[in-house]
Symmetry: C2
Subunit: 281 residues, 2 copies
C-alpha cells in the first residue's frame, strides 16, 4: 500500500492510497480520513460508496464529511467505483453508466468483464484486510453508506452480510436496479441475461428473498432528475414495509442529485452511524 | 445576468451566474450562495477571492462554507480569477501563474493584457453593481477574504478602499508580490518594468505607503510548500507591526496549501466576519 497524497484536515489526516488488487487485477486507489483520535487506538469505520462516474476523490473533496468525522472519531474509507487502467475493458460506446466508473459493486460473470470487475469481493474481503493491516481501523465496528449507485452498493452489501455493518444509510440510492435503465444495462452486461442471477444485486429483490437489516436511513432529494426514472424510492419503501424493516426515508424538498445535497445532510448520517457504532453522536 | 446552475444547499441556494462584463470585455462567471434568511431582506456579503488556477468552482465545491453561511445568514460571492474566452491572451508558455486563472486582481496597463485583465475594476465596480441589482445583497455590509493569490487580492483591495469592507481575512496570502517569483512575474507582465507602479498591488508596500486596515486575520499552514518561496507571512507581520495594524497570524502546524486547509478553518473566518458584519457569530 503506497501513499498517493496526504494532507492535514480538521486535525486529522486525509490520505489517498494505491495498492495492487488481486481481485481486480489492477492497481486500486482509495481515500482514507484518519481522525485526530487515531493515536488512542483503533477506531470505528464508515465506508462511503460513490456513484456513477466518481472516483475516491468526489466525496473526499465535496461532502465536508471530515469535519464531523474528526469530531466523532470515525475513520472514513472511500473506495473507487471500478477497476481502472491499461487493459481494463470499458463500455464500447464510452457511456458513463457502464464500465469505468460504473462497477456497480458486483462480481461480474460475463466476458470480458469477469476478470477485472470484482468490486464486491474487493470491498468485502481484499480491501478490509489491507485496511486492517495498515490503518488504525477497528473492523468489528463498521458502518456503510453511499450515493446513487453507491447507495445501491451500501444497501446490497449490508443485506448480504448480516451483522457485518452496525448501520447502513444512503443518499438517493438506486433502489431496484432490476427495474431501472441504469441497473438493467449494468446487470445484463456484467451478469448476462438470466435475471435470477441479478437478484443478489438488487436491494428490493434481496429483501423479498429474505435478507434483512435492523434499520435503514435514506435521504432523497425531491428535485433529483433521476428520482422517477432510476432511483424509485417507493420500491424500497414497499419492500421494507412488507419485510418489517424500519426505514427512515426523508424526502428533501428542492434538493437535487449533487454533492450539495450530500453535503447538506452528511452530518445527520454520520451522527446516526456514530450512535450505532458506540460513539457519542 | 444568466443562471448557469442552481442547487439547493443547506436550505439556501448555490448559484452560478454568467454575465457580460464591460470591464474585461468577456463573459464572466461567478458563484453566489444565497442563504435561507434571504426572504427576510438584504443580507451582508462575504467575498471570497480564489488562488492561481481556480475558477468560481473550487471554493464553492471544496471549502464547506455554505453550512456556516446558512447558519449565520451570509451571502457568499465567489468570482472567477481572470477573464477567459475567445481572444483573451494567455501566458505564452501556458504557465499556470500568469494569464488565464491568474489575474492577480489588478488592472493591467501593458499590451496585450490591458484590454481584458481588469479584475480590480471588475470586482470593485462592475460586479457589485450587478449583484446589488439582482441578488438580496446589502452592500453596506461587506467582508472580503481570499486564498493565496486571492489573499493578496482581498488584502490589497481592502487597503485601497478604506471603510468599504467591515473585515478582511486571508488563507496563506501572497504577502508581498513585489518580493516573490509569482508576483514579480505577474506585476512585471501586467504592469511593466516600473516597480513604482507595482506598489498599489502589494499589501506590504501599500501599508508602508500609509494604507491601513482596522485589523486582519490570517491563517497560514506550516507545511505549505509555498511558504518560504512565495507567501512570506513574516513580511506581512513586519509591515503590520510597523504600521500598528492588529494582525492575528495563526500558524497552523502540519497544514498545506490545499482546500483541506481552507475547509478546516473556514468556519473560524466566517464567524469572525459575521461578528464584524453585525450578525450573531
Amino acid at each position: 500500500m503506497e501513499s498517493v497524497s496526504r494532507a492535514r484536515c480538521f486535525g486529522g489526516t486525509q490520505h489517498v492510497f494505491r495498492h495492487r488488487s488481486a481481485e481486480t487485477g489492477t492497481e486500486m486507489r482509495f481515500a482514507a480520513f484518519v481522525p485526530p483520535q487515531a493515536g488512542a487506538g483503533r477506531l470505528p469505520v464508515v465506508w462511503f460508496l460513490s456513484g456513477l462516474t466518481c472516483t475516491e476523490e468526489n466525496f473526499t473533496m465535496k461532502a465536508g464529511a471530515q469535519r464531523v468525522a474528526a469530531e466523532l472519531g470515525l475513520l472514513l474509507l472511500v473506495p473507487d467505483t471500478s477497476p481502472r487502467g491499461e487493459g481494463v475493458p470499458d463500455d464500447p460506446d464510452g457511456a458513463y453508466d457502464f464500465g469505468l466508473g460504473a462497477g456497480f459493486y458486483l462480481d461480474a460473470t460475463q466476458a470480458p468483464w469477469a476478470r477485472n470487475y470484482r468490486m464486491e469481493s474487493y470491498l468485502l474481503h481484499e480491501l478490509p484486510a489491507q485496511v486492517a493491516a495498515e490503518l488504525p481501523a477497528d473492523l468489528t465496528r463498521q458502518a456503510i453508506m453511499g450515493h446513487s449507485m453507491g447507495g445501491h452498493g451500501a444497501i446490497t452489501l449490508a443485506l448480504k452480510t448480516p451483522g457485518r455493518f452496525a448501520s447502513v444509510s444512503a443518499f438517493a440510492p438506486i433502489s431496484a436496479p432490476m427495474r431501472c435503465p441504469w441497473g438493467e444495462k449494468a446487470l445484463g452486461g456484467y451478469l448476462g441475461p438470466d435475471r435470477s442471477a441479478w437478484r443478489r444485486y438488487d436491494s428490493c429483490a434481496l429483501i423479498e428473498d429474505g435478507a434483512r437489516l435492523p434499520e435503514l436511513l435514506v435521504d432523497q432529494g425531491m428535485a433529483d432528475t433521476f428520482l422517477e426514472s432510476q432511483l424509485k424510492p417507493d420500491l424500497l419503501r414497499a419492500a421494507c414495509a412488507d419485510a418489517g424493516i424500519p426505514l427512515t426515508l426523508r424526502l428533501q424538498e428542492g434538493y437535487d442529485h449533487s454533492y450539495f445535497f450530500i453535503a447538506s445532510f452528511i452530518e445527520d448520517h454520520l451522527r446516526w452511524h456514530a450512535g450505532r457504532l458506540g460513539r457519542a453522536a
